[in-house]
């Protein structure tokens, strides 16, 4: 936790996918000074990094390719790295989505070992809407949100190799990982969109900014 008076400087990785307006406004509302960046060099001076994302896994990994090394270095240096939705899935090792698309070699960042799998075929996908969070272990990112609802839009979900990497679950057919984190605790992600999850989402963004 920082003791500086200045606002935490957060870099949102802009790799050309999706609308980053809401996540930027949400982080600003949470007290951060936000920079949208398409240049990996900008990550060096950041207090924290957000990896957003919508769309397909392999396309996301391709587009985020130039950031791969810098993101891994930031994580190893212990800096907070927050993946949102597809950005969370990219923290894992691989995804069934890429395999289904015949792109089995698409590799994630492997910062939270595991793979992303598709929801059971009897369930309507995407899983879309507000679902309840069940916090399963302590982590600063989920402070104050146990039992609250968050907004999800996704067809795949994370299955970390280490069940202990799951921080919170939600139920859709079965329980699935809604929030994951690495052992050290500085790399974490939410399957839902905090920037679309009302007060609960803003609380999570504030929790993140506090960590930066």
């Amino acid at each position: 936790m920082s003791t500086r008076q200045a606002a935490a400087e957060v870099v949102v990785v802009d790799y050309g996918l999706g609308n980053l307006r809401s996540v930027t406004r949400g982080l600003e509302r949470a007290g951060a000074a936000v920079t949208l960046s398409a240049d990996p060099a900008d990550l060096d001076s950041a207090d924290g990094v957000v990896l957003p994302g919508v769309g397909a896994f392999s396309e996301g990994m391709d587009n985020a390719g130039p950031f791969r090394e810098t993101l891994v270095e930031a994580a190893e240096a212990g800096r907070p790295l927050f993946g949102i939705c597809l950005g969370m899935q990219m923290l894992l090792t691989t995804s069934e989505e890429a395999e289904h698309a015949g792109q089995g070699d698409a590799e994630g960042l492997d910062l939270v070992p595991g793979r992303n799998v598709r929801f059971r075929s009897d369930l309507t996908v995407p899983h879309m809407g507000w679902n309840e969070l069940d916090v399963t272990r302590d982590h600063p990112i989920v402070e104050g949100v146990d039992g609250e609802h968050a907004y999800f839009v996704h067809s795949y979900y994370a299955e970390p190799d280490d069940p202990g990497a799951t921080v919170a679950t939600a139920e859709y057919g079965d329980d699935f990982a809604a929030v994951v984190a690495n052992d050290r605790g500085n790399v974490f992600g939410t399957q839902f969109h905090p920037e679309k999850s009302g007060e609960t989402g803003l609380r999570i963004l504030r929790n993140f900014v506090d960590l930066c």
């Binding site: 507000w130 859709y172 679309k196």
Partner: protein, 270 residues
């Protein structure tokens, strides 16, 4: 568990000074000025709305620019999903609306005229942001494809355009199914018959669509209070209920509607 959603909707037009303003139909009479779009969006964001729908009713080229600016101003204040509809006819319209800050676009006439727009939108931006909206009207003749019994008579539902003034001959249930196959992520079902009545949603219509598709269905038109929302969830199987005037004129709060639903075992976000 997924909750049922309560969604306030604003109709936005340009006022005399060319500024975006919310108007609401009152008892079938003229549209009444209801407020500033950004202020209303903020109010509903704070009141516990699950999503917010913004419909551009100007349907004019000059209004479009102002509307996109207003969408951006709303998006900056609303930390819940934002759907924007009205006059979206091309892939480019979809793109610029999403870019302005919408999470989803609602397409009606543009998709009926050219169904490929659904496919293009879904492939380019993802199904989750393509909402297909229909303005359904009951017809009691022999020209439909899917019939349901309504008050002892057999009726089908026709897709209309221009606010119900023009029929298309397209069966709503068949169209819903095609829209889903083409990649629509949600269906937004309005009823010309129920609109403005406050007598409740068109249950046979909503149920006919819900029974046909697995895509989430947002029921619209006719909401007069919490019991109507309850009925459309439990009787018709809707995933979300949209309402305008009961919220705009403070007849009910969003919280009051949700508490009513919660008391009856309908899962909601409180």
């Amino acid at each position: 568990m997924l909750t049922k959603r309560i969604i306030p909707c604003i109709d936005v037009d340009l006022d005399e000074d060319g500024k975006a303003a919310v108007y609401t139909g009152v008892n079938f009479e003229d549209l009444a000025y209801t407020g500033d779009p950004v202020e209303m969006a903020k109010k509903y964001n704070e009141a516990g709305a699950d999503e917010f729908v913004f419909l551009d009713i100007t349907a004019s080229a000059e209004g479009r620019e102002t509307m996109l600016d207003t969408v951006s101003a709303v998006a900056d204040e609303v930390f819940i999903p934002l759907t924007v509809g009205g006059g979206i006819r091309t892939r480019e319209d979809v793109k610029e609306t999403l870019r302005a800050g919408a999470d989803k676009v609602s397409v009606n006439t543009g998709a009926l005229d050219r169904p490929e727009l659904i496919t293009e939108g879904a492939e380019s931006f993802g199904s989750q942001c393509i909402v297909i909206s229909v303005d359904a009207r009951r017809r009691f003749d022999e020209e439909g494809e899917h019939y349901v019994a309504v008050d002892g008579e057999s009726c089908w539902f026709e897709c209309t355009v221009k606010g119900g003034r023009e029929g298309t001959g397209v069966d709503v249930v068949s169209w819903a199914s095609e829209a889903e196959d083409r990649g629509a992520g949600e269906l937004f079902v309005n009823s010309i018959d129920a609109d403005g009545t406050k007598d409740g949603y068109d249950i046979p219509l909503t149920k006919a669509v819900c029974d046909t598709v697995s895509t989430p269905v947002i029921a619209s038109s006719g909401c007069g209070g919490p019991e109507d929302a309850s009925e459309v969830f439990t009787e018709a199987g809707a995933d979300a209920a949209l309402a305008a005037s009961i919220f705009h004129f403070d007849e009910y709060s969003i919280r009051a509607v949700k508490e009513y639903l919660d008391d009856r075992g309908v899962p909601v976000r409180l």
